[in-house]
Symmetry: C2
Subunit: 335 residues, 2 copies
DNA sequence: GTGAAAGCGCTAACAG
DNA sequence: CTGTTAGCGCTTTCAC
């Protein structure tokens, strides 16, 4: 890991016949330098192949131009879309992102938080794993590191800046749509109740059913891992019921895609005999056949808003915790 | 961006009544410290809430425990799978990854390379955008920064460590499979010839056809952007030919999924009237209906091998450039 | 085993 | 406008 030593500002200054301080001002684009010396120094930099050492600069100035982004997994298109939003927004402000993936393991998350601290990132955007308490995160804030929570909540939501979608409303929209289509027995498939997101979507499901005057059959609620396999298993389970459902609301699109496979295996025509609504609106949702009706959770926007909030906080412009709750939208397609 | 000042090693040492140097040895887990002082110092760290400053440490020791990973876009499942591989492997070695996405823009790629340099990353893994010359990359090596190229080649492949799949062979496997199925008119759809990957897959396509004694009809080669939309457009184009193809090999799975949509729109039964082979074996390939026959490009393994090569090089253990070319495998499914 | 002093490459504060 | 001096938080000799 030893590196060939690089050209330092000192050497550049010497070569150009100025002081280190002057050279420093020039790299940073100061206006208050005469055109001639500026040219001269820039020329020297070019000749010597100077590369700015941002690490050393950050150390000295006690600033940080990095931001940590902690996410459960990159394989899920929803999260990768959030990442794209974060990336774009932070790029624009000149930050560099350090990525960490927890794979939903608490030990990994703790380790990542420490890493972010050790690297002196200027702030952290995190989608905490289910069961993360606010104490776990508070550690960062106590050390003066701004934090923004995205997509999932911690045990004490009001403590931090948060950006997410209104999952209760999303669940409601989905169910109302299915009720309008004439369904009475609607399953809720996939996900597990340890996640705040699941609980909210489930609540939307319940609320909408109750408001419409229908009863909730616990047999139609199936918890599974958030995967296509999970969806496939879940639909098989409810189809074998004495009174199978005629429609399903899925925890997210990934699960919904699994459910679609399961329905096809069972020879059920999606969109005709059976209606299906997902959540997230990942790209794939519009591409499958039949295309998937889903609730758009605006992952890209979540990433951008989270970045904006973090930037505000890093500039010291924010006061109390802010919450940005996006209104989800139902995207009606063929399913 | 100003940070509340943190507890320094100095303060810890003072609190514990030892010197800074001793404390430093202890954070790094040195063996040559008496158990008592060690305990005492560790206790002080806990009490004061000390956080190791890896940035300062790296500056002083001229080491780096970060690795840059530059990729075109994170939205493509193939790349996100490579990222997962990279992440897992580097994690194990204790590196932290700094992520950059180029969106296939040359300016962005150049900027990212500079950023990596400025952040003194210990090494870089890059999937260069089409048209990247070896000079663009050489800059890094000249500054003593190890580089590993992954998935795509530069203009002068032999100069750097490289990990990728044998795209020529992959193309051949696909075409041989289609020929065995009895097809004579096989289209090659999607992608553009500015990419080395495209040219190799195309070559495999050509070679296989020629070996089998068939001729190549240029009308069956359609270049498009690498997207579902591209696939859709491409299949529509060839279907309107006087002599449409009866099978297609697609640049990758993303394109293939678009082609599937297009075929369905045209009322063509995939797997019966028309056979289709993709490339990459992204998760989705096994989940669509009908499931997609494809060539597995082992993205996860590419990420891991690239990380291993980089690690070797960072340790100074590598000599000449190494090339790891993975053998792709045909995954026969329903399409 | 532990401490004192020097310095990684840069910026900040103040002179001039 | 430019130079001087000090020091960010850590590691690294080299004494003792």
């Amino acid at each position: 890991m030893k590196k060939r030593s690089r050209v330092t500002l000192q050497q550049v200054a010497q070569h150009a016949g100025v002081s280190r301080a002057t050279a420093s001002l020039i790299v940073r684009g100061s206006e208050s330098i005469s055109k001639e010396t500026k040219e001269k120094v820039l020329q020297s930099m070019k000749e010597l192949g100077y590369v700015y050492d941002r690490i050393a600069a950050n150390l000295r100035s006690q600033h940080s131009s990095t931001v940590g982004f902690i996410i459960s997994e990159i394989g899920n298109p929803f999260f990768s879309e959030v990442l794209v939003g974060v990336h774009k927004a932070l790029d624009k402000e000149g930050y560099t992102v350090i990525l960490g993936t927890t794979f939903d393991l608490m030990a990994k998350q703790q380790a990542l938080l420490s890493t972010m601290l050790e690297y002196r990132v200027g702030g952290v955007i995190i989608s905490p794993i289910p069961g993360t308490s606010h104490e776990d995160i508070e550690r960062l804030e106590q050390l003066g590191m701004p934090v923004v929570i995205a997509t999932r909540e911690t045990t004490f939501p009001e403590k931090f800046d948060y950006v997410g979608v209104d999952n209760v409303l999303g669940g409601k929209l989905a169910i109302q749509h299915l009720i309008e289509k004439g369904h009475r027995r609607i399953a809720f498939l996939g996900g597990t109740n340890d996640s705040s997101v699941w609980r909210d979507r489930m609540r939307g499901y319940m609320d909408a059913l109750v408001e419409a005057g229908f009863e909730v059959d616990p047999a139609l609620l199936v918890e599974t891992p958030v995967s296509r396999k999970g969806g496939m298993d879940a639909i098989k389970q409810v189809l074998s019921l004495p009174q199978p459902p005629t429609a399903a609301f899925c925890y997210n699109d990934i699960v919904a895609l699994g459910v679609m496979s399961g329905l096809k295996d069972a020879g059920i025509h999606i969109g005709q005999e059976f209606n299906l609504v997902g959540f997230d609106n990942i790209q794939e949702a519009s591409m499958v056949t039949p295309s998937l009706t889903t609730v758009d959770a605006f992952p890209h926007a979540i990433g951008e808003y989270a970045s904006d909030l973090l930037h505000q906080r890093m500039m010291g412009l924010s006061e109390g915790p802010k919450r940005i709750i996006l209104k989800p939208e139902l995207i009606v397609r063929e399913s």
